[in-house]
């Protein structure tokens, strides 16, 4: 997973805004539990992506709870598209060699 964290996190937000817990849930759900990581360590990466301008975040109030919601920026969408293309090319090449 190391080395692909940014792409994975950006991908979880492709469908729409999520709070931190939602990002982790989606990551676990989509990977069918494969990415088993200390959930608290996802936040530093989210902060980094935000500082890099790939995500933006704001506080919202849902059912009386204050939650920080993350959303992809335009730049983040571009980076995600680029990362997905690179990953597909890489995965295709590995598959061709391995299988």
């Amino acid at each position: 997973m190391k080395g692909h964290v940014d792409l994975l996190l950006l991908s979880t937000l492709r469908a729409g805004p999520l709070h931190g817990y939602g990002v982790v849930e989606k990551l676990r759900g989509l990977s069918e539990g494969e990415f088993d990581l200390a959930e608290g360590t996802v936040y530093p990466a989210l902060y980094r992506l935000e500082a890099a301008g790939l995500l933006s975040s704001s506080w919202t109030k849902t059912a009386g709870r204050r939650r920080r919601v993350y959303v992809l920026t335009k730049r983040g969408r571009g980076e995600l598209a680029k990362g997905r293309d690179e990953w597909k090319t890489f995965a295709h090449a590995v598959e061709a060699v391995v299988t």
Binding site: Y21, V24, A38, Y43, P44, A45, Y47, R48, R65, R68
Partner: protein
């Protein structure tokens, strides 16, 4: 349980020196996460692990930004220095042996300090640009922060000394040179102080990430050899340049003296700062 966890996390965040405002946000988000389901506390990670992850990510970014900011501020100071230094040739100073003591001390600082500042600032930027990973070993961050700090301190010493020199020589020098130098110092010195703020924030963070720092050859990307051998070659090369420039201007004796001094100063700098600035291990 969750409250106790958050208290422990707060203490760990303080221990790695995360700024207060960011700490509040981290704690608020962590609380929201931990109250989202019954098992979240078990999956969140130990407080020390989470706090260290924040410090590691923030530390790498903060050190890189500080190095970049310092280089920009040093660029302005360098321009002031260069114009003032070149302008001094036309400013008609009184003979150096008649200068007040303060001016003579300032002159020595104006020659030595900018060289240290330029080398340290360039090295900080090079290391920051070469290490683009989101997380860097703590030892590597220390090297970048030290380089940035030394560059800024010596840059500030240069500007203060330059200002002192212009002030002390104001009666025997062209007024345009005095005015330009003092105005330039008045602009560049505050910029250096401003650039020191993010550098101080970066240096305060205390991530614990294993790994050794690089050395001079990691900065250069080529020519790995014994660091002292490399330093000797560079020092002799610089001394030769100083000698040749003076020889072309018709003063080879003075050039030989200054070239030797440059070589010795370069080697002394390497001995004094080499390990501290991560040039040799």
């Amino acid at each position: 349980m969750i409250d106790r966890y958050l208290e422990a996390l707060d203490l760990e965040l303080i221990a790695v020196r995360i700024p207060r405002r960011l700490r509040r946000r981290i704690l608020a988000e962590s609380e929201d996460h931990l109250r989202s389901d019954d098992g979240a506390l078990d999956r969140f990670g130990a407080p020390a692990e989470v706090a260290n992850a924040f410090a590691a990510e923030l530390g790498a970014r903060a050190s890189r930004r500080a190095a970049g900011g310092a280089f920009v501020a040093l660029g302005v100071a360098g321009a002031v220095y260069a114009f003032s230094f070149v302008g001094a040739s036309f400013a008609g100073h009184p003979p150096p042996d008649t200068w007040p003591l303060l001016a003579q001390l300032a002159f020595v600082a104006v020659i030595v300090a900018p060289q240290v500042s330029f080398v340290a600032g360039s090295l900080a930027l090079v290391r920051a640009l070469r290490r683009r990973e989101p997380v860097l070993p703590s030892a590597e961050l220390t090297v970048i922060n030290r380089r940035t700090g030394i560059a800024l301190v010596f840059g500030l010493v240069t500007m203060v000394a330059l200002g002192m020199l212009a002030f002390e020589l104001r009666n025997g020098s062209a007024s345009w040179w005095v005015a330009f130098t003092l105005a330039g110092v008045a602009v560049a010195a505050p910029l250096l102080v401003l650039a020191a703020l993010p550098a101080a924030v970066a240096a305060r963070l205390r991530p614990r990430v294993a790994g050794a720092p690089g050395d001079l050859f990691d900065d250069l990307g080529f020519g790995r050899t014994d660091p002292w051998r490399f330093a000797r070659r560079v020092a002799i090369g610089l001394g030769l340049v100083v000698f040749l420039v003076a020889a072309v201007q018709g003063d080879p004796f003075d050039g030989a003296l200054n070239g030797t001094a440059e070589t010795l100063a370069c080697l002394a700098g390497f001995a004094a700062f080499g390990r501290y600035l991560g040039l040799r291990r």
